[in-house]
Symmetry: C2
Subunit: 310 residues, 2 copies
């Protein structure tokens, strides 16, 4: 949202206020105030003009200005009703030199998961990609993936969904997938140029609208429809706060993970590892105690077999 | 080089051979053989047509077909007399889905080093970028950078230049820089999509043509002009062989490094570390013994202070 428009909105949200007062406070013309109010109304903000001045009646359910308004994170939000892929759009913005932009969509037509797997993204979900340019080596990228899983799990738990994280970044309810994360990046060998963290949450959609061969669930199935604006803001604020200092990520992840303490099978690109998942290490590898000794697994598909023997 | 053309060249190089014989062996028309011979001549291959048949008299000094001919590595070589940046071109090829391509140039107009530093690339040097798609996580990218330093150092040593490696990847003669390496990549958090390793060697150029505020040298200054085709082929073969199994990289790097055993100062993004460089660890971090204990440094500018105390 354009900065002056955001300030006009903040003034109106703070209580009924006259147009002339806003104009004076912000050092702009009365005509400019009126134009911003009209633009806000067009974006879905319900603004009354009573005798006491402008008054904010309601905020749109979803969208760029709605998520930016009151957002506790330094992100600009670019909203699309429908887009091919929020990650692809964020990558294009990265190539244009942008940073700290969230691409948000109501529906994706070409959503992707890890390893080029498809990802159904019908209208009503929360499909977003966060573009940032952290000063870290590419080796630390997994920590951002874990931070996204933590932020997502916290946000859906606030909405009443009993979610937990399966290593590294599957957000599940029981064994049903609720949200997925795909981190992409470009950089030199020792520093990231840009990082795009894509998060897809099956929010206000029917599970039947998610054709997949794996068990899935949605926020709607679990607890009914959620305030997507609130959930998105909560997620973005948590992600931002966690990634300001990556040392916070693992302790937070451990608390929300369902993998630690489980007997697991991890399919890595090279081999299959079976053992007890005992810990996670920076930037995000899983420590597995196998019959042959302790292994640290950096990448792979993880399956929970049963709780580990005590 | 187009595959049939390469096979025609191989036949001619194996000894005088008639056009009809080549046509029969390769299952193509005599007119096609003639066209390939003409194309090879246009690319600088000197081919005699005597009574005994076609005979290879000489190979061009440099260029794509010259480097591909006899190359012991599975790379296609795209040559440019002058290009903005071989890394930029290799990145474009990566976006087009290509793999195992070497972009080679006689001169670059917009060469770059690490951290967006400029890199002078006058005519007569060896400026190349290797595009590959290895099945590894981004965290292993530094090993490719070290492999490039090893391959470059081996190749220039074969040419008689007394070069060694300063951690992580500066190829020096004494304290004068002979070659630089810039690795770029794109990928997901746990797997590389593409990797571009750029290598610039100050080969047959005058040091005076390299405006820089740091000490530099060139192969010409050290030992006189070199056969660039041979050096490039040697480098590419060594890089390919090392990266087939990354476990080979560190032992090879240790043998060629001038950093181990030195007292060093490393400027990292966060702090300055001073101590004795004692080892290198996979995928490429430097182990430094400081007054406060042992540190493992993943990225930074390294300066040799003096040999470490015994």
């Amino acid at each position: 949202m354009q900065e002056t428009r955001a300030r006009v909105l903040d003034r109106i949200a703070a209580g009924p206020v006259g147009g002339p007062q806003i104009a004076e406070d912000l050092g702009i013309s009365r005509a400019a105030v009126w134009k911003h109010v009209e633009a806000l109304r067009a974006a879905g903000f319900e603004i009354d003009s009573a005798e006491a001045g402008y008054e904010l009646i309601s905020i749109p359910e979803f969208g760029g200005p709605a998520v930016e308004f009151g957002l506790d994170a330094p992100y600009e939000v670019e909203y699309h009703e429908t887009i091919d892929s929020t990650n692809a759009r964020a990558r294009d913005l990265a190539v244009d030199g942008r940073a700290n932009v969230v691409v948000l969509a109501d529906a994706q037509t070409g959503g992707r998961g890890r390893l080029d797997r498809g990802w159904s993204s019908p209208s009503g979900g929360i499909w977003l990609s966060i573009l940032s340019r952290p000063q870290v080596p590419p080796a630390q990228a997994p920590a951002y993936t874990l931070a996204a899983a933590v932020a997502t799990t916290r946000a859906v738990r606030e909405a009443g969904v009993d979610a937990s994280i399966k290593w590294p970044n599957d957000v599940l309810v029981g064994d049903r997938k609720l949200a997925g994360i795909l981190t992409e990046m470009e950089g030199e060998a020792d520093r990231v140029s840009w990082l795009v963290v894509g998060i897809g949450i099956n929010a206000n959609v029917d599970a039947a609208d998610l054709p997949t061969d794996r068990p899935v669930t949605t926020v709607r199935e679990e607890v009914g429809d959620v305030d997507r604006r609130e959930l998105t803001q909560s997620l973005l604020a948590a992600f931002h706060e966690l990634t300001v200092d990556l040392q916070q990520v693992l302790p937070a992840w451990r608390k929300l993970s369902s993998t630690l303490g489980q007997r697991v099978r991890v399919e890595t690109p090279g081999e299959e590892i079976v053992g007890d998942a005992v810990d996670v290490r920076f930037p995000g590898s899983l420590v597995v105690e196998t019959a042959e000794g302790t292994r640290e697994v950096t990448a792979g598909d993880c399956e929970h077999l049963r709780p580990a023997d005590p």
